[in-house]
Symmetry: C2
């Protein structure tokens, strides 16, 4: 159990977010957690099952500038089971990551991976994608699992709706997600009062939904803002709408998000998406894209995205990006990494994921510095398009 950390609930909560600087809507801040302070805007590095795809360890996360790790409730509930992780002292200890950690609620995976879903007011019944086993998850269950994992930030259990969906369905779903949020909050407070809770300083972020219907997004945001939670996320974007629709939705929602709480745009996105969303007031990001692209040989540079498998790198002794200071660029050539891909060596994946995650973390450092120096709009002009182009 984590000692010396104040129990977090409604009566005693302090605001853990501090806004340090602003340029336009772009915000430079910091968020305190029981495992350290996160400098924002920040990109969270995804360790789905308590490990990072591409054979990266907790030690590697430290070496690539990761500030906060994100793990998945759904996956860990199924394998190895959150009770087991609780009994072994929580996920921090299990995976040996002692920095800040966020867990998602499982909602997104239930709605994208699991079979035979049935939604009721009570929760969601579904079958595990691994062994078909029947599972029921309520908002309380999701929070219990996240409490067993002991992350610093728990996410509310919500329904993720595909875009497009009928207006009436989205409206009903937002109502349900609002009711579930109250239950999530109450359950977390109950658990934070239990003596055997792993991390009694765990806080809850609410999630805004409403697809791309402006009035539903705004109405839902206003309702959940009243709960005065530690942070708020925009969920259900980057699931089929256009990029412009996504930016428009962020803009209109952001106006109704509490200014003194961090905002998290879930599952987004390209370097360009991140820069544009910072410009619209977002503080937290996560995305599987840098790891997934890395595994396909698509590597980020400050000039755009290269495909390392390309013939042109056959004899190229330069690093992936000579401006990059990641452990891969410090030592290995494009020619060697290309060979590793062609020879189907696992090391190709490790190097590529390591570089791409470092790049994203480094991108956030540059974004933070540019906001501090009042240079963010310059930075945005120089890099927003450039970083996402294929070269």
């Amino acid at each position: 159990m984590l000692t010396g950390v104040p129990v977090y609930h409604r009566e005693t909560q302090i605001n853990m977010f501090k806004l340090l600087n602003q340029e336009g809507r772009a915000r430079r801040g910091e968020f305190m957690t029981p495992h350290g302070t996160v400098q924002t805007p920040v990109f969270m590095n995804v360790g789905t099952q308590g490990a990072i795809k591409g054979a990266l360890s907790a030690e590697d996360l430290s070496n690539i500038g990761c500030q906060i790790e994100l793990s998945n409730t759904y996956h860990l509930h199924i394998r190895p089971g959150d009770r087991l992780i609780h009994d072994l002292g929580g996920l921090h200890r299990f995976m040996t990551w002692d920095g800040p950690m966020l867990t998602d609620s499982g909602g997104f995976q239930i709605f994208s991976l699991a079979a035979l879903r049935k939604i009721s007011e009570e929760g969601v019944a579904f079958n595990s994608h691994v062994d078909g086993r029947h599972i029921f998850m309520s908002p309380e269950n999701s929070i219990q699992i996240q409490s067993n994992l002991g992350s610093d930030i728990a996410m509310a259990f919500d329904e993720c709706i595909k875009i497009p969906s009928p207006y009436e369905y989205v409206k009903e779903s937002c109502d349900r997600t609002s009711q579930w949020l109250v239950r999530c909050r109450d359950e977390l407070e109950r658990l934070n009062d239990q003596p055997d809770t792993v991390n009694r300083g765990q806080v809850l972020f609410g999630i805004n939904q409403g697809t791309i219907f402006p009035d539903l997004r705004i109405d839902h945001m206003k309702r959940i803002a009243e709960l005065d939670l530690a942070g708020y996320a925009i969920g259900g974007l980057a699931v089929g709408e256009t990029t412009q629709e996504m930016y428009d939705t962020i803009e209109l929602t952001e106006e109704h998000m509490p200014k003194d709480r961090p905002r998290y745009l879930m599952g987004v996105g390209t370097p360009s998406n991140i820069i544009e969303s910072v410009a619209r007031g977002i503080d937290f990001f996560d995305c599987v894209m840098p790891a997934r692209n890395g595994r396909h040989g698509h590597l980020y540079t400050w000039d755009g995205v290269i495909n390392i498998k390309n013939e042109r790198y056959l004899l190229d002794e330069a690093p992936i990006d000579d401006r990059c200071r990641c452990p891969v660029c410090k030592r290995y050539s494009r020619a060697y990494i290309r060979h590793l891909f062609k020879a189907e060596e696992m090391l190709a994946l490790r190097f590529s994921v390591m570089h791409n995650l470092y790049f994203y973390n480094d991108l956030m450092t540059h974004i933070r510095e540019s906001i501090e120096q009042g240079m963010f709009s310059e930075f945005r002009k120089s890099y927003s398009e450039r970083l996402s182009r294929r070269i």
Copy 2:
């Protein structure tokens, strides 16, 4: 090109091997190479295609106590091509490994992987196992490839015969392998005199063959010993004969190997095989077993081999082996590594290969220390059976 290294050929060679100590037939020695001195007995860590299976890098090799890396001529000739590696400054530079390196001759892979082989006095014609492309390899070709790679030790091109094979065929094959060895030696000397050779200090080890026919093994060993090469290997074992037949063959061959040159037992083996072969006078080993076993979750400890996927490790917070000081045992629990296997995370493979290779390197350190202290027979008694048992 490697500068400051003496060109190695018949007229100028010095003996690069120094015998430091002996206990019975077990030998403690050191072998000088242009990339540093190897303490023997030694286990060579296998990086088939210029990378270690399990996503281990050259940097990782340093961290797990690797003294000498082994790469495969056949694989690198096919992908990315040895000319390319030559043009990029050699394999040391390509993979960023600056320690000693040995390359095999390609023979073993041609006889185990490639299709449609045709052997003549001139060499072997075969089809690539990757793209079916027709390739011809003579002893000269094999040495040219190894010279392009720039390893410190090149292996002679030989025919690897399966066990059992008819006496007459083995006899003919040994004659051919002897003739090929002379051509290998002459070609290496020619190449070491060329100005654009990557590593002009490269030396040749001859390979003894003869399956398990005592007279053919001895006769062949005597013939190749006359060439006064930098070292000698016993090849063609651990390919189907019994363990006792292997040990018997080592014993009778060893008597005819030059005492002042290192002996390398190719492709062997379990910790027990290694201890028993050191007791019979062997100095160099290589084997894919620790990496392959690691990928299946079979992990070495000083009490025997455990299967980390076993239910009994579900809640086990101990390291793989609490006497092990490898980067994995220093930080991660059996329960976590078991989870990584069950969740099919690539990190499971990296951790397991890293631990097993460290274990083998550490085993050799203990063997060396025990010979130095005249305690090897004690060490052999305590560990020879124990280390290879399944627990």
